[in-house]
Amino acid sequence: MDYFAGVDIGSTMTKVVIVGDRIEASLVGPTGPEHRKLANRVMEEALRQARLTFEDLTYIVATGYGRINVPFADRQITEITCHAKGLHSLLPSVKTVVDIGGQDSKGIKIQNGKVMNFVMNDKCAAGTGRFLEIIADSLGVPLEKIGELSLTAERIAAVSSTCTVFAEQEIISRLAGGEPIANLMAGIHDAVATRVYSLVKKLNVEPDIAVTGGGAKNIGLVRALESKFGQKLLVPPEPLITGALGAALMGKDIFERYTSEGQKPTRSGHKLEEATFFK
């Protein structure tokens, strides 16, 4: 049995997925300067889950923002390609993917698992998960709660500033002005959804549409996006791991393509170790 691993190092989370003929293990760990070099730890944990050793792995693909920092990976592929791949394996009917990560929001058009077109947010944190994080943080509301909270709003309190930092201030003063926190939460979710929507609209959007990434775990954001797109959006069971899953499946494809040509794909030869340049 051949096993393939995908490692997705995002700006806030590290994800690892191991596949054989099914998903053997999937794991999500935090990413931070001191964590991201420890992709190997997350990998070890995933191997333990799957009751496998590093040597059992046939091919490893790294993806995500920190993909270059995974010494033991055999190949680096961008998260855009991997998301498309992973999502297609989970929800084959999806033609448009909306991925809302910590630093980036993306729109991806896919056709049988291949990227047809894509867009990414520019260097503005508005419309990214980071926007929500910062706001949640400054209001002392747990990140996982803000979605729920926003759904209890009796009206959407529009937030005018797009800039994360100034929106934060605007919200604080609006709160002081007596605006209920739920309305403001609805406001920022609407703001993020609006930015993401006008970004993704650059693709000619076709259903089904799926939401992935940390943003997909935020029910308030998903609802806000649904009202923008005017249709129901699909959310995969574990929206965080589609990238890593896609990476693992890309590895599988690469391996099978080579073997069909009677060759072996070249491995990095690295052991399961920390990224050396951190030492």
Binding site: L139, S173, L175
Partner: protein, 257 residues
């Protein structure tokens, strides 16, 4: 003896100063949190308690700062910009340019000889150069903002930051760290980036010595050193740099008695 109270409700912290004549009888600094009205009350109470006084002992109260209109215990309000000017002038009459580094805004304030505000510039659409930058740095390095200054002084070769955006400085810092930059180098780099932005503001109001640095940012020794280096001259830092605006508000209250 007449007591007056000055309150400065900033977007990050609220400060209060109780003045007895020209002397600071007591002061307090607390996080503003969401509710400015409450923050105004709380910080005033904290300061009054220290002074073993009550609101009724206050002949006059002036509130300043971002949330000053919310503060119901104050007789009148003023902007924190003028109050900074008055407060700093009271402490250091020789100062003509105040550089105030708050939670989200940094400002350069020019003073008239008699300590009134002559001109001011604040960072506009960009929070680069504001205290936010430091919060972001602390966030990614998982350290306390208060430890940043000392740590930054250990820098070997400060990182060159190319972005001015506080939020995206985060991703840039993260990738520099992944390239092996030490936390100290990152912080020193952030200090330099902030200093050049802040001094640019100061240039726009017209560089006139002496210079004072106030606000939360002034408690960061690394940042203060970077600013002094960028200005090419020494800068004055008040003993408690956060409360100059509250002090100014109190002085304003005294004036109006």
């Amino acid at each position: 003896m007449a007591y007056v109270l000055g309150i400065d409700v900033g977007s990050g912290y609220s400060k209060a100063v109780v003045l007895e004549g020209d002397e600071i009888r007591s002061f307090a600094v607390i996080p503003s949190g969401g509710d400015y009205r409450e923050a105004g009350r709380a910080v005033a109470e904290a300061a009054l308690e220290k002074a073993k006084l009550t609101l009724s002992d206050m002949v006059r109260t002036v509130a300043a700062g971002y949330g000053c209109n919310m503060v119901d215990i104050a007789g009148e309000t003023s902007t924190d910009l003028s109050c900074h000017a008055i407060g700093v002038h009271h402490l250091f009459p020789s100062v003509r340019t105040v550089i105030d580094i708050g939670a989200q805004y940094s400002r350069a304030i020019r003073l008239h000889d008699e300590g009134r505000i002559a001109n001011f510039i604040m960072n506009e659409k960009c929070a680069g150069g504001s205290g936010k930058f430091l919060q972001v740095a602390a966030h990614i390095l998982r350290i306390n903002v208060s430890d940043i200054g000392e740590l930054s002084l250990k820098a070997q070769k400060p990182v060159e930051f190319t972005t001015g955006c506080a939020v995206f400085a985060e991703s840039e810092a993260v990738s520099r760290i992944s390239e092996g930059a030490s936390p100290a180098d990152i912080l020193a780099g952030i200090h330099n980036a902030m200093a050049s932005k802040i001094v640019t503001l100061a240039v726009r109001v017209g560089l006139v010595p002496d210079y004072a640095v106030t606000g939360g940012g002034a408690m960061d020794i690394g940042l203060v050193k970077a600013i002094a280096a960028e200005l090419g001259t020494n800068v004055i830092v008040p003993e408690i740099p956060q409360i100059t605006a509250a002090l100014g508000a109190a002085l304003l209250a005294k004036e109006r008695v």
